[in-house]
């Protein structure tokens, strides 16, 4: 390894950055404080130590502790991407169009639980859940309605879908085709992270092995056909919500990431073909500096894993890009307006941690789905941070803080120890099957609960500063007719489509599932025949079986 001095590295960085600026200028020519003091792009030590050079480095450079881009938010703010979806495809489509009219450029689709678990709306297992936590999608027809009038060549769409990710992605590709948008122009993300479903979120269908195959089939198919699609969003969010610590969130998420990369390499894919399309999803909780340090540590660990362990050469393969959502489980049902303050601090930690996109929770989400007013305040919170506070004017403003750098190092070391432990168990898939992460998370959740009940951990409005006779605000009320309407539409579809064509497509899919060919083309064919999400998933259930957790 050549040992360039930090001054030399900085000069090279400065040159590269200047070239980049010719092409992509920053939002302002000069950044300054309200007093007119000039704000520089980057602040650095006057004399760099070995630690500064190797652990902290420069933004946009390995190991990316200070961010994945050299200019960060001076060039472009994070994407404000609020997760939404409710009731029917038509209702959600109206909301999406409204959001796009308001200048939003990205969509984020919430699906209802039957869709997420591969049941049609008329399946007995779906009773009570249709259209509740998101939009109900049974077939391509629903997806056409969901995306009607939305230009898929210009709008990027994030879909929180995991076990049936292949099916919903297939639908998106087909809708694009019908709009005249070729697959290689589609942009968006599918969550597609099954390991954290077993660990923490619970919307799994198939056992780990066939699930990992579906994921690597998607990687391979997208690398060829949908190259701008983020094929997975490896998620710590739900691990944290289930009760983990910040260290566990980083460790288990990156261990899952390592398992996906290994699976794809084992399936014969070249690491630099798929790794640049991997993305991550983290939580932002209340302990402000630990959260900032967590994001910085995660970037550094991942860069080293990709470069040193998997020998990735493309620098984009080294870069951990992530979405953040503020912590749902930190919201209190008591005095819900206080949650606006919690969300603000959490969102700020994500921004200071260098997030690429952000969802801010609404104040009333410990009580119900948010009202329109609450959802608007959540979005405004991001806009205030982006446009009023000046925190975006310099790159990684907390870089070099003794405290934040020490926390970043500590999280890296402790998460690294967990990753080593999981490696010894045979990797994340084996650790999940043995219930290791699940147990660790449960123990951490119990510790937190005990601290709250003993008063050691203070929750304002819950175990301190309570109000007597508190009145809850007006909440969102779901439309009770949604389920009925969806069932009628599904029946009508089954009556009018070519059921023989559906049968043929499903039989081919089952045959494919017993072999080893890439299932994406077969799933796309089934979707085109208007086979439903439930029918497609049940066909795969027949071959793959269902996951049974150890209790």
């Amino acid at each position: 390894m050549t040992t360039k001095s930090f001054a030399e590295l900085y000069r090279e960085w400065e040159e590269k950055t200047q070239q980049l600026l010719q092409k992509y200028p920053e939002q302002k020519e000069r950044f300054e404080t309200l007093s007119g003091i000039k704000v520089d792009r980057l602040y650095m030590p006057t004399e760099a130590t070995k630690h500064d050079q190797e652990q902290i480095g420069l933004p946009g450079e390995f190991p990316y502790t200070r961010g994945v881009r050299p200019t960060m938010y001076r060039s472009r703010h994070w994407t404000m991407r609020q997760y939404a979806g409710f009731g029917s495809a038509d209702e959600t489509n109206k909301r999406f169009r409204y959001l796009l009219d308001q200048g939003q450029t990205g969509l984020s689709v919430a699906f209802d639980l039957p869709t997420q678990i591969g049941y049609d709306s008329d399946d007995p297992m779906a009773a009570g859940e249709v259209g509740k936590v998101g939009v109900a999608i049974d077939s391509l027809e629903d997806m056409e309605r969901l995306l009607a009038g939305i230009p898929l060549d210009r709008v990027s769409t994030s879909m929180t879908i995991n076990a049936p990710a292949s099916v919903l992605l297939a639908m998106y590709i087909v809708v694009g085709e019908k709009q005249g948008v070729p697959a290689n122009q589609l942009t968006g993300t599918i969550q597609n992270d099954i390991l954290k479903e077993y660990i923490a979120r619970g919307t799994y269908i198939f056992p780990p092995k066939p699930s990992m195959r579906l994921i690597t089939d998607i990687f391979a198919h997208c690398a060829e056909v949908v190259p701008r699609w983020n094929t997975i969003s490896i998620s710590g969010y739900h691990i944290r919500e289930a009760g983990s610590t910040a260290v566990q969130e980083v460790a288990f998420t990156l261990a899952d990431g390592i398992a996906y990369v290994q699976a794809a390499i084992d399936a014969g894919l070249d690491v630099d073909r798929f790794a640049p399309r991997l993305s991550f999803f983290f939580n932002a909780h209340n302990h402000f500096f630990e959260e900032v340090a967590k994001f910085r540590a995660a970037r550094r660990i991942w860069a080293r894993v990709m470069k040193e362990r998997f020998r990735a050469k493309d620098t984009r393969s080294h870069q951990l890009r992530f979405h953040t959502q503020t912590g749902g489980s930190t919201l209190t049902a008591q005095q819900p307006d206080n949650n606006v303050v919690r969300v603000t601090m959490q969102a700020l930690s994500a921004v200071l941690g260098g997030t690429q996109s952000l969802h801010t929770n609404a104040r009333d989400e410990a009580l119900a789905l948010p009202t329109e007013e609450s959802a608007r305040i959540a979005l405004r919170t991001q806009q205030i941070l982006a446009y009023e506070t000046g925190v975006t004017d310099t790159v990684d403003p907390l870089g070099g803080s003794y405290y934040v750098e020490a926390l970043t190092d500590a999280i890296e070391a402790e998460a690294g120890a967990y990753i080593d432990r999981i490696d010894e168990m045979g990797g994340a898939v084996d650790a999940v099957e043995q219930g290791y992460m699940q147990r660790e998370i449960h123990l951490a959740a119990l510790t937190t609960q005990k601290k709250v009940e003993s008063g050691e951990e203070i929750l304002v409005g819950v175990n301190r500063y309570r109000l007597e006779n508190e009145q809850q605000p007006a909440l969102y009320k779901p439309d009770p007719s949604i389920s009925h309407q969806q069932l009628e539409r599904l029946q009508a579809l089954r009556a009018k489509r070519d059921n023989q064509a559906v049968e043929v497509a499903l039989t081919k899919l089952k045959q494919g599932a017993t072999g080893s060919e890439n299932l994406m083309p077969l799933i796309i064919a089934a979707v085109k025949s208007y086979a439903t999400v439930g029918e497609i998933c049940n066909s795969m259930r027949e071959i793959f079986g269902e996951y049974q957790p150890n209790l």
């Binding site: 639980l113 039957p114 997420q116 678990i117 049941y119 007995p124 297992m125 779906a126 009773a127 009570g128 859940e129 509740k132 936590v133 479903e197 979120r201 619970g202 919307t203 919500e241 289930a242 009760g243 489980s329 209190t332 049902a333 008591q334 410990a366 009580l367 119900a368 789905l369 449960h442 959740a445 119990l446 609960q449 009940e453 929750l459 819950v462 809850q472 909440l475 779901p478 957790p549 209790l551």
Partner: protein, 136 residues
Amino acid sequence: MNRPIRVLVAKPGLDGHDRGALIIAQSLRDEGMEVIYTGLRQSPAQIVATAIQEDVDVIGLSCLSGAHKELFPEVTRLLKEQEATDIIVVAGGVIPQTDIPFLLENGVAGVFTSGTSTKETADFIRKAVAEKEGQQ
């Protein structure tokens, strides 16, 4: 009463949030109760069948997906149908205050939402079971 209180902690419907259910299960065990946890994705019929088979005193239902108004009354209806109304039903989750009277009218004995201490829930269960035994 000489045997410990038996509780079935159950997740009706498709909701995957089980942090609360797992914490309640462990806390009630710590309070000396015998606790069975169903795991995720149980239909009301499965929950009632398990409750009867395991001869529990209490069913604790947890739901955070907003399906509580459909799923909880279905559990109490099936208990009635199977003449097992001696089993007390309590519930928790993301449940708006305005839905609580409806659930109480439909046979749920108590609703414990976010922020309730586990001790409070355990005390409620002990009292409710004692009252039930006094009636018999």
